[in-house]
Symmetry: C2
């Protein structure tokens, strides 16, 4: 039996997926748990990814007519209470500020002092505080629409935190819009979901299914929640972004009302939509392999890492100056509108260790440059989406680099899409459904699971039964128009208007 | 007597400067007080300014070798206590999280529940939490330097908030660096102060004096605090940015230690430096006039506003399509590396109201385009740094626009510099000093005050006396090398090594 190649990450994905994930986060230098329970420190490589996500999404938001603004971190408790479903949804995970200074007690120990008359909640999301502000801004239909986005941190107390996927504090963007009519608000909800889909697929190289949440899975206070759902390499679903049609619920609770074209005072229609640092977790679990992370080129903090190979000290200057020149030459090339981002790694480390550090971080292209390459005016290239390395004339590489990066981007998407398709099944029989979600061999859970496209009668009882029995939920009611086949509910056998996606989920 | 021109902002600066400031903030649509006491809502025009500040500073930080990262919002109380001076400095203004959920009480009212074992402080600044993390990252001199910056929100409870200048929550950046040697840390402290000076002068068009704070005015826990100080139009000083040399104080309290080149375990040297949304307040008070804000072009959310003048509905399409084309043509021009930012304002408002709204917002250039201008292929331009408007051939305007924007930028700087110089005096006599800071006519405070360059013996008692008697503080000990004249302390007459800047301050 051939011996399995040793991988840079241990355990491998099929050995222990959750632990593999933690090890990739650590070895790729993306983030770490902070001493503050549930919070994370996002390290420079991870934060640069978030900066790129933010930059690209922000361009898409602005192109669809939105502007940014900033609202307070704190929400008075009374505001949160105004929308009943909303507060129910978040009450269990609110960090509460109750004091506004520290004072030494009799033993000289600092304790909270200056108790607030009304406690403040650290925003878990900002519908209520923003709604309160909008109610003052909106007087007439001429003040509409309001199309505002906010980049911010939010806090939802987490008992079982996992870096990027579920943390007490996380970074996100939250769009909050106000419209004159129901149709306009609905169009906005759909439009932003499309923005998320485009971003997920074209930038993150992560295929997603768009659809609608069931009543059970909606955002607290929303009339409808649309979402994008992706499949990770353990075949579980990741909800990667949501766009909420809030109807007039928040407009009524915060009294966002205006004089309409007929001169009547009516309530507005609102939406909200958001994605978070969770997207980074999604990229890791979509593209990572047993050697670490693989960053989609369009979001990579560095597209190319140049590794000078110096076997003899006397060659150091020649090699470094050749690498410097190559770096400048490459930075003159554009990839996806921006100059190619190049790192010249001249840390004082051995070449192997250095090379592997960039494999684990997932840099799309590594170039090793030694005297031999300089003499033949060539580069020795390792692509993160392929095994092995290959030589290539320098000029050819410079001419082709944007194309190679584009090819890596495409390969990552295609591979992820093929994986999802391989593990998406139409299932019409409850015992086969149960088998699909129950590993035959618990040692090898990877032989089972995925997305089951099955019929559902729209009754929450059937949905809840599946969840109770198998820990499987309806991820979404897909929005694609070819999903109009009628059938029988996989649980109760009653009439079903369409197939929905069942999966285990993060 | 000539009747004074009516201004767009009431009161005028000389009538009531603090109220004028609030009115500019409001009329320029920059921000507003939020229902959460002491916090502000930064509106789109104000936030776009902050985005531009962030973009430009970030480029400068990266060019000086820094990377961004993100650390937790919450600091365990015990961490804050580790550095005694530090906690003393911030204890009175800390927002404290004591509970992590909400629960209904007997009356169904939501109250804080889930009391934390250790209270968490919402970061007022992050030296302690970042230091704790760095202590794990730093093992050897090879791990140094660490050059990290963070863009974040911070909270310092404010009893007397003023928008942008002093708010409970504000946005800022905080650099936190770790170095092998004292010299390196000192060089970093100085280098970042220079970055701030360059940014303030070249981008904000706000002249600043660089210098060192006295012991009394230092950052809590720092060995030395360097600062940039600017003069506002009420002649008070605004501290616009600080760069702290922290010595080994925080390295010792958080145990940031490493094996040095000689194999000994030693403590590192650290710095921190920051600027905040306060800079927006500084720009308003440096450049604003009685008609509102004036935005320095290099940071303007929009450089040019096109105002279509439609006197007859039948011309609407002609005028709007001409304006659209002009917009595209102008966006093809670069100013300070970036495409010119153009707004075409076709809101359904009367032309006068519309024009004034952009005067108050401070857009550098307004173009009014009506049928007459189209027929003569010209534009009618209002520059925010000048009174009146003037016509100009369209092609000439497009060719000159970057130059005009540059000229406005220069004018703003020169005007602010002249103002500061006019109101900076060498004063060597205590009674003249008192006169300088005591308005002869309290109705006209603008006839007095400014920066007094006076001698000081370095004794805190003399500094405190001036503060107690006149509410005047030492803003900084200027760093310019031509400030080496010796003299006698203006308070006690003892020997003084150099003049320092006394002023009233924000």
């Amino acid at each position: 039996m051939a011996k399995e190649r040793k991988s840079a990450i241990s355990p491998k994905r099929h050995e222990d997926y959750p632990e593999w994930y933690q090890q990739v986060v650590k070895n790729a230098d993306l983030a770490e748990s902070s001493p503050v329970r549930g919070c994370m420190v996002i390290k420079p490589w991870g934060y640069a990814l978030w900066e790129n996500i933010r930059t690209e999404l922000d361009i898409m938001f602005k192109a669809t007519g939105h502007v940014n603004a900033y609202f307070p971190l704190f929400i008075p408790l009374s505001y949160l209470q105004k929308e009943a479903d909303h507060v129910d949804g978040f009450a269990k995970e609110c960090a509460v500020v109750t004091h506004h200074r520290l004072e030494a007690d009799a033993d000289g120990k600092l304790v909270p002092a200056g108790e607030l008359e009304e406690p403040l909640v650290v925003r878990p999301t900002s519908e209520t505080i923003i709604g309160e502000t909008y109610s003052k801004w909106v007087q007439s239909y001429r003040d509409l629409p309001i199309l505002i986005n906010q980049w911010a941190n939010v806090v939802r107390w987490e008992m079982r935190p996992r870096i990027f996927l579920r943390t007490t504090e996380f970074l996100w963007q939250e769009g909050h819009t106000v419209h004159e009519t129901k149709d306009e608000a609905w169009d906005e909800t759909v439009k932003m979901l499309e923005v998320y889909k485009t971003f997920a697929e074209e930038y993150m190289a992560m295929p997603v299914i768009t659809g609608e949440k069931t009543t059970e899975e909606r955002f607290p206070g929303a009339e409808n929640t649309l979402c994008i759902e992706a499949m990770m390499q353990d075949r579980k679903a990741l909800q990667a972004g949501t766009s909420h049609f809030l109807g007039q619920n928040f407009a009524k609770s915060a009294d966002i009302a205006f004089q309409n074209r007929e001169g009547q005072r009516v309530h507005a229609w609102t939406t909200s939509w958001g994605v978070s640092t969770r997207l980074i977790g999604g990229m890791i679990m979509t593209h990572g392999d047993d050697d670490g992370f693989i960053v989609p080129p369009r979001l990579a903090p560095k597209h190319i890492v140049i590794l000078p190979i110096i076997r003899d000290d006397k060659d150091a200057e020649t090699v470094l100056s050749y690498c410097e020149k190559l770096k400048i030459e490459l930075e003159d090339v554009n990839f996806n509108r921006v100059p190619v981002r190049v790192e010249l790694d001249n840390r004082d480390l051995n070449a192997g260790e250095k090379g592997w550090s960039w494999v684990k971080k997932g840099a799309p292209i590594r170039l090793e440059i030694g005297m031999r390459d300089i003499e033949s005016d060539s580069v020795f290239m390792g692509r993160r989406d392929q095994q092995g390395k290959s030589g290539m004339p320098r000029a050819q590489f410079v001419a082709d680099v944007a194309g190679i990066l584009g090819e890596i981007q495409d390969n990552l998407f295609k591979k992820a899409l093929a994986y999802r398709e391989e593990h998406t099944k139409n299932i019409d029989d409850l015992s086969k459904f149960a088998d699909f979600f129950t590993p035959e061999n618990p040692e090898k859970p990877e032989t089972h699971g995925g997305f089951a496209l099955s019929h559902w009668c729209t009754n929450p009882n059937c949905e809840n039964k599946i969840n109770a029995d198998l820990s499987v939920t309806i991820r979404c009611i897909p929005s694609s128009s070819d999903n109009e086949e009628q059938g029988k509910c996989i649980v109760c056998g009653e009439k079903s208007p369409q197939r929905v996606i069942f999966a285990k989920a993060y």
